[in-house]
């Protein structure tokens, strides 16, 4: 095998070690691609990225490793000589020599005195950006500042530096991608804002799926047009009957969402998704609770509740169930699907699982969405197992993805 082939192989291994999934066939593609594109640096980089990097979220990592791996040591010195004392940027290659791991390179960078007093942070942010991609220093600074403002989800070290590239949309997509998988437990207000951004497409997708389910069904009313069309295949005989579900489906949704500290974020996001899909249910009543019930509504993306709850009260689901029971005549009937979001942590107050049983008897189904991870169920003051016996289904919704899936099952 040629040395270049070996180089590509070693590079692929390096990428794999950093967490990028690359198959054997993609490696072969990469070798062929390099053979075709040649070893001119920029072309080779694009050839490798087109064949190896199939997710734009991995791109910043690729850029970083590529520079570390392929830039010859000689060139590095040349570049740093070319811009003596240019304080605004640390040239990407000067910080790193081939074969060095990111850790060692970072430590080797610090003792080297830098000629300018520019804040270190800005330079570090921009390390992975190549000069060719930065059309103007002006916007570059704007970008770097923006990167600092939006921040990155924790526990995703391989996306660091992606803000630095001059590309706008790529960074946004990588962020959305990450936030859908971040567990609600790790949320702060910052993550919540990012999740709100991701919510638009997600809610739309949810609506489309709900709508589609109504169109084609296994039983129900005969869909005349599609039946005729199918009959043409059988020479006009109506062998295949095609059905359409009745519309609108008789689902009354009653949602109870815990908005106390521990599950606040997941509850608000859920209420917002459901509010967007209102048209697909016959009736939707949303409530939030801490120790009492309050009707919830959305206005311009802000949660409104009447009456206003004390968010710092100690949650008491038992009492909330009592209030629901009082209003059962108005809220619950055979078509009701009751959706409860909460962690079942009751501060050791009466759980009133018996009331939940009675309530479940009145409804079509009771579904409990739980944002906690299974390992923590039933620990401490959690009464979740008492409730679990009474509900029709317990669905995990620890992050946006899981929440969406769970909500699809509800409908």
């Amino acid at each position: 095998m040629s040395t270049l082939g070996e180089q590509v192989l070693r590079f692929v291994q390096r990428l794999r070690a950093a967490g990028v999934r690359i198959s054997v066939s993609e490696t072969l593609d990469a070798m062929n691609a390099v053979a075709l594109a040649g070893i001119e640096m920029a072309r080779m980089r694009e050839a490798l990225s087109a064949t190896l990097i199939k997710d734009e979220a991995d791109r910043p990592l690729f850029e970083e490793l590529f520079i570390a791996f392929f830039r010859p040591p000689g060139e590095k010195r040349e570049i740093s000589r070319k811009r003596p004392g240019s304080g605004t940027s640390i040239s990407p290659s000067s910080a790193r020599s081939p074969g060095e791991s990111p850790q060692t390179s970072r430590s080797s960078e610090t003792p080297e005195p830098h000629p300018s007093a520019k804040p270190r942070k800005l330079g570090a942010e921009r390390k992975s950006a190549t000069p060719a991609q930065n059309p103007s220093a002006e916007f570059e600074r704007l970008d770097a500042r923006r990167g600092e403002a939006t921040g990155q989800p924790k526990g995703e070290p391989r996306e660091v530096g992606e803000q630095a590239s001059s590309e706008i949309e790529a960074g946004r997509i990588a962020r959305l991608h990450a936030i859908e998988r971040t567990p609600f437990a790790g949320y702060s207000d910052l993550e919540y804002e990012q999740a709100r951004e991701a919510l638009g497409p997600l809610a739309r997708r949810y609506r489309v799926r709900l709508g589609r389910r109504l169109r084609a069904a296994k039983a129900g009313r005969i869909d005349f047009r599609r039946t005729i069309r199918a009959s043409l295949q059988r020479g006009g005989a109506f062998c295949d009957l095609r059905f359409r579900a009745r519309r609108p489906r008789r689902v009354d949704l009653v949602v109870l969402a815990d908005v106390s500290g521990s599950v606040r974020y997941s509850s608000t996001l859920m209420l917002e998704i459901i509010a967007g899909a209102r048209a697909h249910f016959r009736r939707v009543r949303s409530f939030v609770y801490v120790d009492r019930l309050a009707e919830a509504d959305f206005e311009n993306g802000h949660l409104l509740m009447t009456p206003v709850l004390d968010l710092y009260a100690r949650s008491d689901f038992g009492r909330v169930l009592g209030e629901l029971w009082e209003r059962r005549g108005e809220l619950l009937n055979r078509a009701t699907v009751l959706v409860i979001m909460g962690d079942g942590r009751n501060n050791r107050r009466p759980a009133r699982a018996d009331l939940l049983r009675e309530t479940a008897r009145l409804c079509r189904a009771v579904v409990w969405l739980i944002p906690e991870e299974p390992g923590r169920w039933g620990t401490g003051d959690s009464a979740i197992f008492q409730y679990a016996r009474e509900v029709s289904a317990m669905l995990r919704s620890g992050n946006l993805r899981e929440l969406e899936k769970a909500l699809l099952e509800v409908a």
């Binding site: 594109a37 072309r43 694009e46 050839a47 199939k54 991609q133 949309e169 790529a170 043409l232």
Partner: protein, 291 residues
């Protein structure tokens, strides 16, 4: 395909009046040379579909387009028998008293087959460009079906037999990432991410497509649009929209990009009321930015 080399690609792109960068050029070249499908992702309006059109123009061949949507099935994408025509033929033949053997022989021939885009691309006598647009809108089952097709470029029709591609079509897939594509599909494709162009690139695009616009104004317009995209809007203006805007500026005879001119034409760039409100106050700052 000896004539495919890097120079051919960059010249072809220039001739087709498509302004690119190294990344796009290399990806297109590799897709042609390795005969692999090219998966293009990127924000709406950054020129993903345009790549396929340009490719067709460059290779001087036909562009076959399959627009994906939820619920797209094989009958719409691949082929379908033309039942109406078959029935008519059947009735006609009955009057002539032909036996079943003779009837069935021509009843299931190419004449009664409705070729949908995928089959059309495979059955084409010469190399064509097949554009599978917005693959992320199609269902996951369809994606799996597509995989099979993209790996061997052949279709089996029970009544007719297998149709193999004479010349492998150049396949371009585009995605807006409304949903995650499967790993398997990604593996089989080359990947290209097209972002919004940088200021310089956008200026060149505007100058090329709207030659009537003053060069200095084009540069300012490019800078302004670029700055708009960084405001974190609901829908950042696409390249097509910035071209529309440039044309609007020409039509209105705008001499220089000042606050009033921008405010009056902002509707061409921003299509959401929220975005417009958010931007209105910032227009003077954005326009007054020193070059």
């Amino acid at each position: 395909m000896e004539r495919i080399n890097q120079q051919f690609v960059s010249e072809g792109l220039r001739r087709a009046r498509y302004i690119t960068n190294e990344r796009i050029e290399t990806a297109i070249y590799l897709a042609l040379a390795l005969e692999k499908p090219l998966l293009i992702e990127g924000p709406a309006g950054s020129g993903k579909t345009e790549v396929a059109k340009v490719l067709a123009e460059m290779l001087q061949t036909e562009l076959i387009r399959l627009q994906c949507y939820e619920g797209l099935d094989e009958a719409r994408a691949l082929y379908e028998w033309n039942y109406q025509k078959q029935l008519l033929r059947l009735q006609a033949d009955e009057h002539r008293g032909l036996g079943w053997g003779e009837i069935s022989e021509h009843l299931f021939s190419r004449e009664y087959l409705l070729e949908r885009p995928l089959l059309k691309a495979i059955a084409a006598p010469r190399k064509v460009v097949l554009l599978i647009d917005e693959i992320d809108k199609a269902d996951e089952e369809f994606e799996a079906f597509l995989l099979e097709l993209l790996s061997d470029f052949q279709v089996s029709i029970p009544e007719l037999g297998t149709i193999r591609a004479v010349e492998r079509p150049v396949v371009v897939l585009t995605s807006n990432r409304t949903r995650e594509l499967s790993e398997a599909l990604r593996r089989r494709c080359l990947h290209l991410f097209i972002d919004f162009p940088g200021i310089e690139q956008e200026r060149r695009i505007i100058e090329l497509k709207v030659p009537d616009l003053d060069a200095r104004l084009a540069a300012e317009a490019a800078r302004f649009v670029n700055a708009l995209r960084k405001l974190g809007l609901k829908k950042p203006p696409s390249v097509a929209e910035s071209l529309d805007w440039a044309r609007a500026l020409v039509r209105l005879g705008v001499g220089e990009l000042n606050t009033d001119a921008v405010r009056a034409t902002l509707g061409v760039l921003l299509k959401h009321e929220d975005d417009r409100e958010k931007t209105q106050g910032k227009v003077p700052a954005l326009v007054g930015r020193p070059g």
